[in-house]
């Protein structure tokens, strides 16, 4: 299945990725190639098949843990990792004029 540069640009916007014109071109070709391979799934008979999203222990996660408060990570330790912060919160470029 072919995918054109306009589609690549649209998907890149959804994925919050700024692509260079060279990347747009390369990804259009490479994604097209991979999608072509994936097309084979359309030949598989899946009528009446329930989709499988979890292939683990069905009993996992079914018991609720005790509702006991435990300490969270200290705020300053978490903020330490941020590229920009003011000691109380993460700081981002202005979004409202």
């Amino acid at each position: 299945m072919a995918i054109d540069r306009a589609q690549v640009r649209h998907v890149a916007r959804l994925a919050r990725l700024a692509l260079s014109p060279e990347e747009e071109e390369r990804f259009a070709a490479q994604l097209g190639h991979v999608l072509e391979y994936i097309e084979r799934l359309s030949a598989v008979d899946v009528s009446g098949v329930e989709p499988l999203s979890f292939a683990g222990d069905e009993k996992a996660g079914l018991t609720l843990r005790d509702d006991a408060p435990v300490p969270s990570l200290p705020r300053e330790k978490v903020l330490e990792q941020a590229p920009q912060q003011d000691g109380k919160a993460f700081v981002v470029p202005r979004i409202i004029e």
Binding site: L14, F27, L31, P51, A55, P83
Partner: protein
């Protein structure tokens, strides 16, 4: 450091070797070889020395914490370790120092393991050669011009080169088993839910699983026992009790029923790999296993299914890397532009490709055709295994269709790289346990691995079978 993990564990228990001396041997070996191999991204020497000192007290005074007490262990750089930079092989996490330990790291520390450093990997575990690491590739100890496989290539190479006797990796589509096969060591991908993923940087959450590497099956079993078990911080972790995996090995394999799926011996399989795997199967037959040919008819659809499911989940998991909470931030006047530039500068080509593919598969108008259909085929793949296991104890196949390939050989052809995982991916889609065990060499003296696949939570049978096929003498590279 030429002894296996279980021999080292036994020697420590017997007081024949001291943890501090063992750590020094390990560090010396890493210093001597890592310039060539680039298995490690960074060492954790101060922490390792403190742990070795704590384990140093004579055994007469202090009961060992576990069979890993005093054993040097390496970690794929995907596991958060408090106070130690953790990058997942990506520039977008350069400089990130987690404020907490992953559950498996906490467990290893509690078991007395000596964590010596963080190992190289494909960026966000996306790749089959470790060439997608933002920090340069890892080399195969058997041939430095070739890949050790991936994505846990550093973890595999470090064990094969005897830098450390055991390491941890993660396996989403083969990332433990394939590199284990390509470097000639043992790698286990446990049942989905067997090991906690808390603190493990996520790639595809319905597939990711943590597992051990070691030179020998029993060593890998010792490691698995220490990291497995329920964790309130990972909802998918199973409450089933953790068995004594190493003890199971002594049960032998007589009477076990093993299936050989014909779809795993078809086009694309290197004849030398096939020959070695068939010889391993004969070894099982000679040891008293009942061997029969079976069919897993939907397995040939696994790669296509995987590249929808895994990329869709990855596109969602990797949305968190936005330059706000951690990692570098690109300069930009506006928020949206900041996100787009930070991600453009921080992610490598393969990660971008997979985010794009996953976003596309989930986008309006394509969801049913791709994601929903892939989940249905996934159900068929699982059903094949369920049917097979109604009359079988395990399935045996090659781990990888070829031995280690040249660095650079598949970098321009993403699809060719993906097809490396053709025999390992179905196991992740079905949530089953799998193990790769060395079973010989090709005529270039490159290692070959055999894969054993088991019923959910039946790692014990795989370890028994793995022990029956593993070599009694371990050859050394370099």
């Amino acid at each position: 450091m030429s002894r296996t993990l279980s021999q080292i564990s036994d020697a420590l228990a017997a007081g024949e070797v001291a943890p501090e001396a063992l750590l020094e041997q390990s560090l010396a070996r890493i210093r001597a070889l890592d310039g060539k191999l680039h298995a490690f991204l960074r060492l954790t020497e101060p922490q390792a020395r403190a742990a070795a000192r704590a384990a140093q007290e004579p055994r007469s005074k202090r009961k060992p914490l576990s069979p890993l007490d005093g054993v040097p262990i390496g970690l794929k750089d995907i596991f958060c370790m408090e106070g130690v930079e953790t990058t997942a092989g990506s520039r977008i996490l350069a400089g990130y120092v987690p404020p907490y330990d992953a559950t498996v790291v906490r467990k290893l520390k509690a078991a007395g393991a000596v964590i010596v450093g963080k190992l190289n990997m494909d960026e966000f575990a996306m790749g089959s050669s470790t060439e997608n690491s933002a920090f340069g590739p890892t080399m195969n100890p058997w041939d430095l011009s070739r890949t050790p496989g991936g994505s846990s290539g550093g973890s595999a190479a470090a064990v094969a080169a005897r830098m450390v006797p055991g390491t941890l990796g993660t396996d989403t589509g083969g990332s433990i088993r394939q590199p284990a096969a390509l470097v000639g060591c043992v790698g286990i991908k446990p049942t989905y839910g067997r090991v906690s993923r808390y603190g493990v940087i996520a790639f595809a959450s319905s597939l990711d699983q943590v597992g051990p590497f070691a030179q020998d099956v029993r060593g890998a079993a010792l490691l698995l026992r220490e990291i497995a078990g329920e964790d309130v911080n990972d909802q998918t972790s199973s409450r089933r009790p953790v068995p004594d995996y190493a003890a199971a090995i002594s049960k032998g394999v007589r009477g076990l029923r093993v299936g050989v799926p014909r779809e795993y011996f078809g086009e694309g399989l290197d004849p030398q790999v096939e020959k070695a795997v068939r010889a391993a199967i004969e070894k099982l037959r000679a040891a008293g296993c009942e061997v029969r040919e079976i069919s897993l008819p939907n397995s040939p659809h696994a790669i296509a299914t995987y590249y929808i499911v895994a990329t869709a989940e990855a596109s969602s998991n990797l949305a968190r890397y936005d330059g706000v909470r951690y990692g570098p931030r690109a300069k930009a006047g506006q928020l949206l532009e900041m996100y787009e530039r930070t991600r453009a500068e921080g992610f490598g080509a393969e990660v971008k490709r997979r985010i794009m593919l996953g976003t596309y598969a989930l986008s309006a108008g394509y969801y049913d055709a791709y994601y929903l259909r892939a989940q249905k085929v996934r159900a068929l793949i699982r059903r094949d295994f369920d049917n097979a296991f109604a009359n079988l104890d395990a399935v045996v196949s090659p781990t990888s269709p070829t031995t280690a390939f040249k660095l650079g050989e598949k970098m321009d052809d993403p699809l060719a790289m993906y097809l490396n995982d053709v025999y390992t991916v179905p196991v992740n889609l079905a949530g089953l346990p799998g193990i790769s065990v060395p079973c010989g060499f090709d005529n270039r003296r490159l290692p070959i691995g055999v894969q054993l696949i088991g019923k959910p939570f039946d790692e014990e049978t795989l370890l028994r079978l793995g022990h029956a096929v593993e070599p009694r003498e371990h050859e050394e590279p370099l």
